[in-house]
Amino acid sequence: MTTQTIATSDRIEKAQPGWVKLLDMSDRALAVLLLTPAAVLLTLIIVYPVLRLGYTSFFSLSLTSGLPAEFVGFENYQLMFTDPVFWETTWNTVLITLITVPGALIVGMALALLANLPFGVQWPVRLSLLIPWALPLSFAGLIFAWFFHSEYGVVNDVLARFGIEGVIWFNSPNLAFAAICLTIIWKTSSFMALIILAGLQTIPRSLYEAADVDGAGRIRQFFEITLPLLKPAIVVALIFRTITALQTFDIPYMMTGGGPGTSTSTLAMYIHQNTVSFLDLGYGSALAVVMFALSMCVTAVYLRIIRTKE
């Protein structure tokens, strides 16, 4: 048995010069062959549209004008600087990101730690983690729009039971904004929890046992073992969550439609409004390019963080 193995590996080593090169070549060819469909698909559905978007952003192209597209250089981008709604919606988007990403991280972490406890029956815990994540965003938005409704909503009903007078959530920019952020945190923390839970389960129990022996308390164990080993999982979760937060659309669209006025409108909603409602494809494309650049910047920062960690 042993001799046979040695013999086989010997033969491979002997054959290596000619063989491996050939195998290598065909491997490469095979790889190219296998990757081509994916590359073509990506080019068609991502690369081409993104390039086309950048191209359109330099044109005055509005389907309501009845005029053909006209090259205008950076005019659409200049227009943005003097457009108060652009600044308002961008600010709202940044604020939503700054509030809901850490919010979802903290809640998600707590949920993951809870779900990682040795429950007798695991599935109800896991299922309740999955449900908010599996719910379509617009459904969540609609459900919470009803929750926060001033007359029929459950939130004001609960407040009333505690003797607190209900408020008209969607009448005030701050309250409407708070309601939206709460909903987003509820909706997205389960995604955070799922990724963190996966990370938690890769941490060997033996580390905690050793720490117990050394006399480290629970809190010390969390900060010295759990948190450092969870970092890769957390960074991955943060990247995904931050990019989707920058693209926030469904929940505010369903809950407030951007109101009162435009006070809870996001950049994605403004892009949608300009392209789908106003049919101003030139300006809408320029706005979308800005959002694309914003997402790329954030991703670059995170990738940097990962690399320095490694």
Binding site: L63, T64, S65, G66, H149, S150, E151, I168, F170, N171, S172, P173, G257, G258, G259, P260, G261, T262, S263, Q273, V276, S277, F278, L279
Partner: protein, 411 residues
Amino acid sequence: MNIKPIVGALLSATVLGISAPAFADTELKVYISSQHQPQVWRKVLDQFEAANPGTKVTIETGGNTSEAQAQYLNTIMSAKDSSLDVLILDVIRPAQFAAAGWTSPFAGKDMSVYLPAYAEANTVDGKVVALPAFADSMFLYYRKDLLEKHGVQPPKTWDELKAAVKKINGAENNPDLQGLSFQGKAIEGAVCTFLLPYWSQGKNLVDNGKLTFDKDAAVKSLKLWKSFVDEGVSKKNIAEVATDDTRKEFQAGNVVFAVNWSYAWAQSQSKDSAVAGKVGVTRLPAVTGGESATCLGGWEWGVSSYSKNQDAAKKLVEYLSSKDASKYMAANGSLLPTYASLYQDEDVLKAAPWFADAKQVVETAKPRPVTPRYNEVSEVIRTTVNAVLAGVTTPEDGAAQIEARLRRILR
């Protein structure tokens, strides 16, 4: 295993599949707004199918507001999608659809058979771009029983309405009874909300495509609506109320006065309505010293220029826009007719007696600005109305914002 039967079955299926289109009917798909009773329109389509054997018509609905429907159609049409043959369009949209080249014109169509406002709304640059589906305008709905009980006449001015509400609410002492319901949510209806008292002061928003904005009249209009909220005539969350919310609240018996379109009538008289037989409809109040003004509504039938069945689709639209169809929808769906004579028709008046006086109101109704960029005009006005009613913006700032933003759109 004997595969012959399988092959045979497959072959015959293929043959059938190939030959089927040869005998197939012309299939037309009609997009109808869900709030305009597609189930009643279905009956009209059935009549068309019976008269035109070989043509099959299916309905597609979606979205529950004019804006949601416009967004959907914008997506479909800008993708040059041929799946829809006939589209129902809000009266404010033919100009935009014509500019984008999305509807096929009706060459040589005589529009003089319709009410003049609709002949005009569907003619863009001398071309007939769509045909009228039904007429509409905003009316004041009121609780006949409550007004009679408290000896109140239907109000002629908004101030009289306020006084009437205070009298009735004071005597009824019912915290669930709201004085006036109107549209404060940032939807198309809120554009009319703004324009009603604005027009009532004798001012116009646009003249010959040029903005003729009167800031004082705008401030006065926004202040009037805000005062209804502040004085408890309307409820505090009016900024959440859309057109169909007004209809539902009124139908549930929780509202004395409501601003709404004609469609609310049929449902207010239905079996499950708390106010059947207790509803009066009259023209909208004026501002004190002004004239009563109302918003021209109504929807139009257009043929998609991407439809592969142009002739059949046009034939269907001619039918849907015919006097017979108009009469059927008036009697069965309380949609106002687009033919003058139907306002005196016995069958129609049996179903909706107040239609007798409605013609005059529709004829004097004012159209919202006609421009291909109407969606932008609408967005400016409705979000500002919404912000003022929510107390986020003052009427003065709101009017200034409307003016500044409309100037950019209607250069």
